[in-house]
Amino acid sequence: MKAFAELYSALDATTSSNAKLAAMQQYFSAAAPEDAAWAVYFLSGGRPRQLVPTRLLREQAIALSGLPDWLFEESYQAVGDIAETLSLLLPQAEHSSDEGLATWMENKLLPLRGLPPEELMERLPTFWSQLDRLSLMVCLKLITGSFRVGVSKLLVTRALAALADIDSKRVAQRLVGYTDLSHRPSAEGYLKLIAAESEDEHAQRGGQPYPFFLAHALQQPVDQFETLLGPAENWQVEWKWDGIRAQIVKREGRLWIWSRGEELVTERFPELHSLTQSLPDGTVIDGEIVVWKAPVIETETAQGFTLDTPAPGTPDADTPSVQPFALLQQRIGRKTLGKKILEDVPVVILAYDLLEWEGHDWRSRPQHERRSQLETLITQCDSPVLLPSPVLTGTDWLDLGKQREASRSLGVEGMMLKARDSMYGVGRTKDMGVWWKWKVDPFSVDAVLIYAQRGHGRRASLYSDYTFAVWDGPEDASERTLVPFAKAYSGLTDVEMRKVDAIIRKTTVEKFGPVRSVTPTLVFELGFEGIALSKRHKSGIAVRFPRMLRWRLDKPVAEADSLATLQDLLS
């Protein structure tokens, strides 16, 4: 545990990728394989579910430290991280445990899940007394499922590849699914990650998916596309769907569905299980899971369209089409999917790529060839839940740009541009071809900051999380109030954030725990990706991915936007 804690500390202390790589290589080359297996799991984002309820950890820290509850709470507010707070307040100990990460996880921490509180209250202090402060903090982060450190999966991949002296794409391939909850890291599994490449590795194993190929943002104006990308006819253009990116793997008579986060989500989409029959073995499809049904015309307006009419049209009650992401969200987090939700929110997969066909890895074949085989497959399959993501055609980039203007009304985020002769890469690589996402500009409104809360981690003790409001009436209304509608905490530079923090402290009206209400003086342009009606919000509106686009120093509070502006965006 101590070695892993020291690795955490080394990774946390630097922003240099090379220093991080070196720290990981040093750790991996010294660690026992079973410990390294768990380290890879945590570093590449794996998180077991919370092992001990936070409430219980708090109670225990309060009891052991002899502090009053309120003082614990104040301390937590200053620190901004529960594991760190606990590690600072629990009694300090000399480090006495020489057990590695794997022993800690398997013999000590994982068995904690589900234990009765009395048992936990007895067992936990015996753990605390073996760990120094750094190891204690890391251990608590593992327990609370909040372990995060600034390394990307790509960097972990590179560290392992360097250690094993093999291609990092090969390691990426082997790592797919490694952090899924069903996977238990093991020495054997780790040794496979860093094993020398073998001939038969190519033959696919079980439900293992391929690393997703990820797109890069394209932000240049359309009139430069010809220069940047060449003629439009060399590109396969599709809508950019607002759904869940997924790979469908069909092998050995079985079906697996993987999300972009490399989580196995097969059970969450029962309506896709019929593909077990329709798809031949040795098939892997990349696509987007979306809600697909006929809109209820009375309440919902021109969102969505059919695949037969990829241009904006008037949806009717009989033709099914893509529905807003908000609907999909209703079923994402659910453990059990009732009959009603399956009827109300049915999904299909809009397929856009074919990664494996007849048991062969097709990723190094050109895009157009994969696409053409995909279309043949979809036709043969004739499944109501497997549809092609339509290819859009235009005379040139300007023409495509015009078509893209319909994105909002169609419920898509913009377009995807894929070079017709490019291979299917790994992650964000660019050497095998590039996918561009050409997104439409976000919605934006000018909103007023009314509440602020201190941030976490790096921003602990800075007021960095804000609640924004718009007016409930026009500027000339005799009486109007500010209605909160969104929270945002990203988009400001560190310098701006410190300035805002200082203003918040000066203009505080009231404090409620960690939250301060302020005299409204700050106006920001907020951007967001989607907007929908919501019963849960006071404003009656929910927005997606809100963030600050810029600080409107030029705009007085009275000139901020009103609810009417938001309502206009809904239609």
Partner: protein, 344 residues
């Protein structure tokens, strides 16, 4: 009768008609120590502890009207008996003991309870009312012994020197810098300092404090091989400035009590944070308060509301005093004060 009250000019002693660490110009000012938030210019008369004279004259002007007292020596002014006692914060730092009609108050300015070898250690003074700071007034702040911190700094310096990297350590130029210089192992390599640090080193050396030999960093060329082995002590304001370019490849670190927490450490953007403070940690504050035997405690700058509430729950009569010292209530400095004066 209250021997000290908070006035817009600063902490004021009504029967004695003088101020303690006033932030606006007054007739008579008793100065606890030379940091910029406690020692201001423009006062007619100054009174301070003798070991701090060099510092005060260096910072406020050689010609200030300054009277000094040895620690423990007393004078009487308008019937108020006043004496100064070591606060263990920086060279010349003092607690102000006031006695009037049988009532004793102690104003402690800033203090630290661990002896550090660069100034007289903190001495608890019995009193009825104790005025305490609260910079690190939360139980999350608990300092390790300074010997551990110094060996951490030595190790970091040695590791850097081994790979030919300069070691730049940011520390406030008055107090913290000298404490580090006094505590580290000077045999590891050459020690360079920023121009803001050296004048204070001279004052410390003149006071008989052991400060190893230091060289002015500005005299070195980027190509000088000595830099690859050097420790450079600079005020936080030098971080990110063009002044840093001369060091080529370097590792940087910051020495401050705020480095206790990961957030401020990460925000600072340095490679290492060394938890080293001139202020008392939470156990230190409570220990100091207890050892004065005071039943009444007035809390200034830092976590005022928190310490007041805690002390009240312990049965003491505690109240907050609004001052302009240090950072505002609950405010962890996100950026170093550009002057590098308010210490941590």
């Amino acid at each position: 009768m209250d021997l000290v009250i908070a006035r817009p000019e600063g902490l004021y002693c009504p029967p004695g008609d003088f101020y303690i660490d006033p932030w606006r110009p007054v007739e008579r000012a008793v100065i606890t120590h030379g940091h910029g938030d406690h020692a201001h210019t423009g006062n007619q008369h100054y009174l301070a502890a003798a070991p701090g004279e060099g510092i005060l004259r260096q910072r406020l002007g050689q010609d200030i009207n300054l009277q000094t007292l040895e620690y423990g020596e007393s004078i009487t002014h308008h019937g108020v008996k006043l004496s100064l006692h070591p606060a263990g914060h920086v060279l010349g730092s003092a607690q102000v003991r006031l006695e009037y009609e049988g009532e004793v108050w102690v104003a402690s300015g800033d203090y630290k309870v661990e002896p550090d070898g660069t100034c007289e250690p903190f001495e608890p003074v019995r009193c009825h009312t104790f005025i305490t700071e609260s910079t690190f007034g939360l139980p999350i702040y608990k300092w390790a012994p300074q010997s551990e911190i110094f060996s951490g700094i030595n190790d970091w310096w040695r590791e850097n020197a081994a790979v030919g990297k300069a070691s730049v350590l940011f520390a406030y130029s008055f107090g913290k810098a000298q404490r580090i210089l006094h505590g580290i192992d000077p045999s590891i390599g050459p020690i360079l300092v920023h121009g803001a640090v050296e004048p204070l080193n001279r004052v410390y050396r003149a006071a008989g404090i052991r400060i190893p030999e230091t060289q002015y960093a500005g005299d070195f060329k980027k190509t000088d091989p000595a830099l690859r082995q050097a420790l450079i002590i600079a005020p936080p304001s030098a971080g990110g400035s063009t002044w840093m370019r001369r060091f080529g490849e370097f590792s940087d670190a910051f020495a401050s009590g705020w480095m206790m927490l990961r957030g401020p450490r990460r925000r600072r953007g340095v490679d290492r944070g060394f938890v080293l403070s001139d202020h008392a940690d939470w156990p230190g504050l409570l220990w100091a308060i207890e050892n004065t035997g005071a039943e009444r405690v007035m809390v200034t700058h830092g976590s005022v509301a928190i310490l007041v509430r805690y002390l009240r729950e312990q049965g003491l009569d505690a109240q907050g005093f609004t001052t302009e010292y240090g950072a505002e209530e609950d405010e962890v400095p996100a950026t170093p004060e550009p002057t590098g004066e308010a210490t941590a």
